[in-house]
């Protein structure tokens, strides 16, 4: 089989996985189902990064989203529900107005994307990106890099302060 066709099949598989599991996240009646569908969404997005030649970013997506944020969200689900009394049903409100609005937003976005001729300076070759990203971080982007690290430190200390029990 031709490599291009194989490539396209894999792309459509991961694209469908991403979008369909995102739909499960939004429409599932059970919160745990939402949380585990989010795992497949993040995994599909990591695969799309790999298709786009962003190897470092794909690995980062796996480590931070799947390993960190998703575990944090599942902790959030577990800690805020009594697991055994079936209180995990997710309620919705304004379902049909929301669905109508969101469909309209999606159609407008796709229409605008199709109408626009995007500026292009050529396609980047599929080379390893890690060394280039590291160099950019240490040269042009050193100030945002340091600011992001301080920002993350402040956010985590703040989160710990918020959830800390008040000592009597």
């Amino acid at each position: 089989m031709d490599a291009t066709i194989l490539n396209m099949i894999a792309f459509y598989f991961f694209a469908a996985m991403t979008v369909l599991s995102a739909a499960v996240v939004v429409f599932a009646r059970n919160l745990i189902h939402s949380a585990f569908a989010l795992l497949f969404t993040f995994f599909g997005v990591a695969a799309l990064y790999a298709f786009l030649g962003a190897d470092f970013l794909a690995a980062t997506q796996m480590v931070i989203y799947v390993g960190g944020i998703l575990v944090l969200l599942i902790f959030g689900v577990m800690l805020t529900h009594k697991l055994y009394d079936m209180k995990l049903k997710a309620e919705t409100y304004q379902f049909w107005p929301g669905l109508t609005l969101v469909t309209a937003v999606f159609l407008v976005l796709v229409y605008v994307m199709m109408r626009t001729t995007w500026y292009s300076r050529g396609t980047r070759a599929l080379n390893p990106t890690t060394a280039g990203i590291g160099e950019l971080f240490m040269k042009e982007y050193i100030l945002p890099f340091e600011l992001a690290s301080i920002f993350l430190l402040i956010a985590l200390i703040g989160a710990a302060m918020i959830v800390r029990r008040k000592s009597e």
Binding site: I64, V105, P144
Partner: protein, 101 residues
């Protein structure tokens, strides 16, 4: 051949689904999941433009910064949700109406 528009449509779908979660879900943790979907859709756009529209890596660096923001947002958001649960014994967003006049 797979081009820029494929990725943009996937990203638009993820964005719309994230907005849907934020608009219609009553559970605060589920709303946070919707916000994560929105941030991921922005990331797909940035990486796709980095591949197809420019010849450099700047888009991927922006995506890394967005991942940093998403991590901070998840941590602070869940801290707020947990203290809300401790206060109200519920994560239903309709119950958080203490400031309502």
């Amino acid at each position: 051949m797979i081009g820029l528009s494929h990725y943009l449509i996937i990203s638009a779908a993820l964005f719309s689904l994230g907005i849907m979660a934020v608009l219609t879900r009553k559970n605060a943790v589920n709303v946070l999941m919707g916000v994560e979907l929105i941030l991921n859709s922005a990331n797909i756009n940035l990486v796709a433009f980095s591949r197809f529209s420019s010849a450099n890596l700047d888009g991927q660096l922006f995506a890394i910064f967005i991942i940093v923001i998403a991590a901070a947002e998840a941590a602070v958001g869940l801290a707020i949700v947990l203290s809300m649960y401790r206060l109200l014994k519920s994560v239903n967003l309709d119950k958080a109406d203490t400031l309502k006049g």
